[in-house]
């Protein structure tokens, strides 16, 4: 039985992206025309019609769909970004500059390996920047020979984009390395005890990998379920620990403000439409009102597109008080800056 599983696993390695149509903006609202994942996909593997599907024959696993979707319709099966960060952080005292590599570049030694870097969105990069004390090298020496080689440029563009938006000095701490000569891999020296500990951990991780996907036959959530996209979660964690100035920059460039005009008739259809739970109904005296929290908003704009009374406005940039609080969407916030 186990043998069968291992063979299955090896054969199905192609489709490592899970789709959840209930998160897709076009599945939630039939007049939405979001095309972000399809535009990004170079192998034309994504099809959106009555469902969202990825053709595993065509998919090159560049993971650009994962990072381009604002509401987490695509997820890498069993991937845990926090464990990647954890692994790299553990090395920090002994290794000057850990190396993060990708799974297809197995020729080079790495401190941690992950899927193709295409899934590293701006939010992921900010998180890496924040949690790494020592500079992190991203090994892109294999990209030149890889079908997903274009990701090297994408990643550099993303780093540049963050630096343009904020005063974070990303490139000081996150270093994409393309030239083999520049790559500086420092081996971890294990003592006897350490070696066996590492071996034990490795065995456990490999064994767990064989069993993790038991229940993931049907992955679609209820459409009414609210789920905060992982990218937004990373950003929310980041602004909590960043200095005020940078927090303001991020709030201005990556957060959104939703407000409603007087024409709002409290039908609350937007509350149902919102995939992330940024809008909610709050009882106020005898009446009910629409409340909004920017920390839960991914800026997809479904609320605005769907509003039948055309009352909803969504703007980039948040300049109100606490981004983690809900406030009445009827009180139009004026820019204070």
């Amino acid at each position: 039985m186990l043998k069968g599983k291992i063979i299955d696993k090896a054969l199905n390695a192609g489709d490592c992206i899970e789709t959840d149509r209930s998160r897709c903006m076009r599945m939630r609202f039939n007049r939405n025309e979001c095309n972000r994942c399809i535009e990004q996909c170079r192998s034309e593997a994504i099809e959106i019609s009555h469902d969202v599907s990825i053709s595993s024959d065509k998919c090159s696993e560049c993971m650009l769909c994962v990072s381009s979707c604002p509401s987490d319709c695509f997820e890498i099966k069993g991937h845990d970004f926090y464990s990647v960060i954890g692994k790299l952080r553990k090395l920090q005292p002994s290794i000057d500059s850990p190396v993060l590599g990708c799974r297809s570049n197995t020729k080079k030694p790495h401190h941690a390996r992950t899927y193709c870097f295409g899934y590293l969105s701006e939010e992921h990069i900010i998180a890496l920047y924040l949690y790494m004390q020592n500079p992190l090298q991203i090994d892109m020496t294999g990209c030149a020979d890889c079908k997903n080689g274009f990701i090297a440029d994408t990643l550099q563009k993303r780093i540049a984009a963050i630096e343009a938006k904020t005063s974070l000095k990303i490139s000081g701490r996150i270093k994409p390395v393309r030239d083999i000569a520049e790559l500086d891999f420092q081996d971890i020296s294990y003592d006897r005890r350490g070696f066996f500990k590492a071996l034990k951990n490795l065995t456990f991780i490999q064994a767990a990998g064989l069993f993790d996907n038991e229940e993931s036959i049907e992955h679609t959530q209820s459409y009414s379920a609210k789920k905060l996209p992982f990218k937004r979660e990373l950003l929310n964690r980041a602004i909590k620990i960043l200095p005020d100035e940078i927090q303001k920059e991020l709030l201005k460039n990556c957060y959104y403000d939703v407000n409603v005009t007087e024409t709002c008739n409290n039908c609350f259809a937007c509350v149902g439409m919102c995939p992330t739970g940024a809008l909610k109904i709050e009882n106020k005296d005898d009446d009910r009102e629409l409340f909004f929290s920017t920390s839960l908003c991914n800026g997809c704009g479904l609320c605005k597109d769907f509003c039948m009374a055309c009352s909803v406005n969504i703007e980039k940039g948040f300049s109100g008080g606490n981004p983690f609080e809900f406030y009445s969407a009827k009180n139009v916030l004026l820019c204070e800056v």
């Binding site: 599945m27 939630r28 469902d51 209820s222 009414s224 609350f268 149902g272």
Partner: protein
């Protein structure tokens, strides 16, 4: 493929309400509140004239499972939460419903708030985002303080919520609906697919409700539709579709209305009164 429909014989119906109760227990619908009826089987009751010359007419109403269903057309999600099954039934899927209530707004037989709209019924009811479903059976307040137990106690003792819950399985439907979702009559598809009749049909003591396949020319419903001139409802105000008017092509028909009889009776009544 069958095309299910229902015929209601108005001369057999006395408005006893057995169908409504049977539906509520079968489908575990909650009590009417805040403009939502949650009555999948309901009535339009009309009382005309002055005592002693009064006329009372009950008309059982339910989802018309329209062939040209506007609720399905407007549903914004993909695949549609409100959708047609091949057997002609209009079925609502719980998993995909986001609670936008477009179906309720666009159904000619529904109202977002029956109290505000001043109508007697609504086919589609909405379980609010914030209010508890079946609040009575979650309330821990004693119904009569110091005397009776509370709704929550009863459902705890019964071991289910609501206490009289009918447990059934349906491809799209939960037998008790969640917050933030709409609900409506599903023609008891869970029963029909097992070869049973909808519970309202079973419960009717006068056999006024006839359920069956309109595509089968030998079925009782087809024969009745041929024998009598059926009428269909146009909206939830009790107006009927005129001949030639298609409306949304409802699949619930009314036969043997008292209209003709009533006119005759009205004509005869003043003569009697003079005597």
């Amino acid at each position: 493929m069958p095309k299910y429909g229902m015929v209601i014989d108005l001369q057999k119906c006395v408005g006893c309400g057995a169908c409504a109760i049977a539906c509520k227990t079968e489908n575990n619908t909650q009590d009417r509140a805040k403009g939502q009826t949650y009555n999948w089987a309901d009535f339009i009751m009309t009382t005309e004239g002055k005592y002693p010359n009064t006329k009372f007419t009950p008309r059982p109403v339910l989802c018309n499972h329209c062939t040209d269903a506007p609720c399905v057309k407007v549903c914004p999600v993909t695949p549609k939460a409100m959708h047609k099954h091949e057997n002609g039934m209009t079925i609502h899927n719980q998993e995909r419903c986001i609670g936008c209530r477009l179906c309720q707004q666009n159904c000619p037989y529904s109202a977002e708030d029956v109290d505000k709209k001043g109508v007697q019924y609504s086919v589609i009811s909405f379980n609010d985002f914030t209010d508890e479903v079946h609040p009575f059976y979650k309330d821990t307040k004693e119904v009569i303080p110091g005397c009776t137990s509370s709704g929550a106690d009863v459902s705890k003792k019964a071991g289910d919520m609501p206490p009289h819950r009918t447990i059934y399985k349906h491809s799209d439907y939960a037998n008790v609906r969640e917050k933030g979702k709409v609900e409506k009559c599903i023609f008891c598809e869970h029963r029909v697919s097992n070869g049973e009749l909808p519970n309202c049909v079973v419960a009717c003591p006068a056999k006024a409700r006839i359920f069956g396949d309109q595509n089968d020319p030998k079925s009782e419903i087809s024969l009745l539709l041929k024998k009598h001139k059926p009428v269909q409802l146009k909206n939830n105000k009790g107006e009927l579709l005129k001949s030639g008017e298609k409306g949304t092509q409802p699949n619930v028909y009314y036969i043997r209305g008292f209209r003709g009889e009533a006119k005759k009776m009205a004509a005869a009544a003043p003569a009697k009164a003079k005597k």
